[in-house]
């Protein structure tokens, strides 16, 4: 995999760092980060240099997340976007007026290389939702020799369902952990979510979960606008996201599975979202089965090595060991519809309904099966367009 270089190269601001120093001197860019280790918050801060993170979407959340990771000294950063910087982006952080007209990925690569020349930067200017984009995106995350993922984490910083579904599919295919983030179209709420194939709900297990803004949808005026945005909400969500990334990569604190932010009430709901055994995505169901086997093997090993200790419930064991978080009570099992209708923590809601169609309606209204050839149907459609 060749490393793409930012299109307009500038001289690095300082020489590359060989080994991180914890010397508290004005010239050491890592002194305050290494202090985390001195203080005992983090065991091995330098581990971050061996980590690779992919940031998908370099908008108001992704660009800020990329800057945070760069300043933290992440080893390698892959950045994806297909858009250019515009003056309309200036209400958000990171990009500057002089970047207008550049692709977001190139503008970010130039800026981030200046901030920290130790980070290996790979900008990818592409739309991941198209047929070609999907393959290119997946290939860019894949190690050419092993066929396995070459990144530690994928961050979804996109603003649409189609891109999230794409990331979900690629990460299921690669068995890759990812973190989702989002800001509401009215700019006053947001969320972050961890997705571990097989262990947590995937993005198709249940409808996307968002924070209820507390604003009546019917009173929201949408004439002449697409979406609102605030640098504050986006900056906060980027901060929550990267904090979770650091905890995950460096192994400190609790990695929150779902964290919402409702700015109007300053309310931060959290929850765990269990995988849906009837998830529509067959790869997700496979991942769930594989995860179950692995968790049971680990539990058996644990029990064998420490027989005198009272073993906690199997399902909780893995959670407690790997994540050190309390497991939220199981959601009601059963069909997806009843699961989705089940009570969510106050302030959280599904942003979309569960797919449902009455079988008799479908029988009555479905296309009739016919023996026409594809080419004939195409010709028939084309003839109607004359």
């Amino acid at each position: 995999m060749s490393v793409q270089q930012p299109s307009s190269q500038q001289a690095p601001s300082r020489p590359r760092t060989e080994k991180l120093s914890d010397a508290v001197v004005d010239t050491n860019p890592y002194s305050r980060l290494m202090a985390l280790q001195r203080m005992g918050i983090v065991k091995n801060y330098e581990h971050i240099r061996s980590c690779t993170v992919a940031v998908v979407g370099m908008g108001g959340v992704g660009s800020v997340a990329a800057e945070m990771l760069t300043r933290c000294g992440i080893g390698r950063l892959l950045m994806y976007d297909y858009d250019k910087v515009e003056l309309a982006n200036m209400n958000r952080l990171f990009f500057r007026p002089e970047h207008c007209g550049m692709t977001k990925t190139d503008a970010a690569a130039v800026t981030l290389a200046q901030i920290n020349p130790d980070v290996a930067l790979e900008p990818f200017t592409m739309n991941i939702t198209t047929l070609k984009g999907f393959d290119a995106f997946k290939a860019s995350l894949t190690h050419t020799d092993t066929g396995k993922s070459r990144v530690d984490l994928v961050l979804a910083c996109v603003d649409n369902y189609e891109a999230r579904i794409t990331i979900n599919q690629v990460c299921l295919e690669l068995g890759q952990i990812w973190m989702e983030s989002g800001v509401s179209e009215d700019a006053v709420s947001g969320h972050i979510q961890v997705i571990i194939p097989g262990d947590t709900a995937c993005f198709e297990c249940v409808p996307p979960l968002v924070v209820a803004s507390g604003i009546d949808e019917r009173t929201l005026k949408r004439e002449g606008v697409c979406a609102a945005s605030l640098p504050t909400t986006m900056g906060i969500v980027a901060g929550l996201l990267v904090q979770n990334v650091l905890k995950h990569l460096l192994g400190f604190g609790q990695v929150t599975r779902y964290l919402g932010y409702a700015s109007l009430q300053d309310y931060f709901p959290t929850m765990a979202i269990r995988p849906n055994p009837e998830c529509i995505n067959p790869l997700c169901r496979q991942s769930q089965a594989a995860f179950k086997v692995k968790a049971e093997q680990e539990a058996a090993l644990q029990a064998a090595s420490a027989p005198e200790e009272a073993a906690p419930a199997k399902a909780d064991l893995h959670e407690a060991n790997e994540w050190g978080i309390e497991v939220v009570a199981d959601e009601p099992s059963g069909p997806a519809a009843s699961r989705a209708a089940a009570a969510l923590p106050q302030g959280l809601e599904y942003s979309m309904p569960v797919a449902s169609m009455d079988a008799s309606n479908l029988n009555r209204d479905a296309v009739e099966s016919n023996d026409d050839k594809l080419e004939d149907l195409m010709a028939q459609l084309n003839a109607m367009s004359k």
């Binding site: 697409c226 529509i280 169609m357 296309v367 594809l374 459609l381």
Partner: protein
Amino acid sequence: MSAGWDSETKETVKKIPLLTIRAGPRDKEEWGKRLKEELQALIKYIQLNKATDSDWFTITSGKDGTTWEGKCWYIHNLHKYEFSFEFDIPATYPAASPEIKIPELDGKTAKMYRGGAICLTVHFKPLWAKNCPHFGIAHALCLGLAPWLAAEIPFMIDEGAIKTSS
């Protein structure tokens, strides 16, 4: 069906045949079957429109059915306004709905994303998700493109942003 569309649109969409095959362009075998259903639904929809003298678009696809283009038109005060539209079938279709673009209107209305992708109502994606995988291209045109034209074209005419094509 939820709010967000006029009663005529609601009545029309009910008459478009539903699709049964859940397959996207990455599903090599099944995609052909899905594509046949898409074509059947589109043909039925255009026939319905022609029968009620409310024909408003033409459409054609590339050989593999992953890229589509056509013309859509809108009559306002007896003047016809016609535009070219296009879209690709997303890799994760039908979970992801198609993103319909009218490149020539890019920058002429706020209800559009860069590149000319129309900004659908907040009700579109929830309804698409609820009916997945039974809604197809014909439903997206009926519930997405048609209402967008009805809402945005008069506005753009008033603004002087577009001119009639007849």
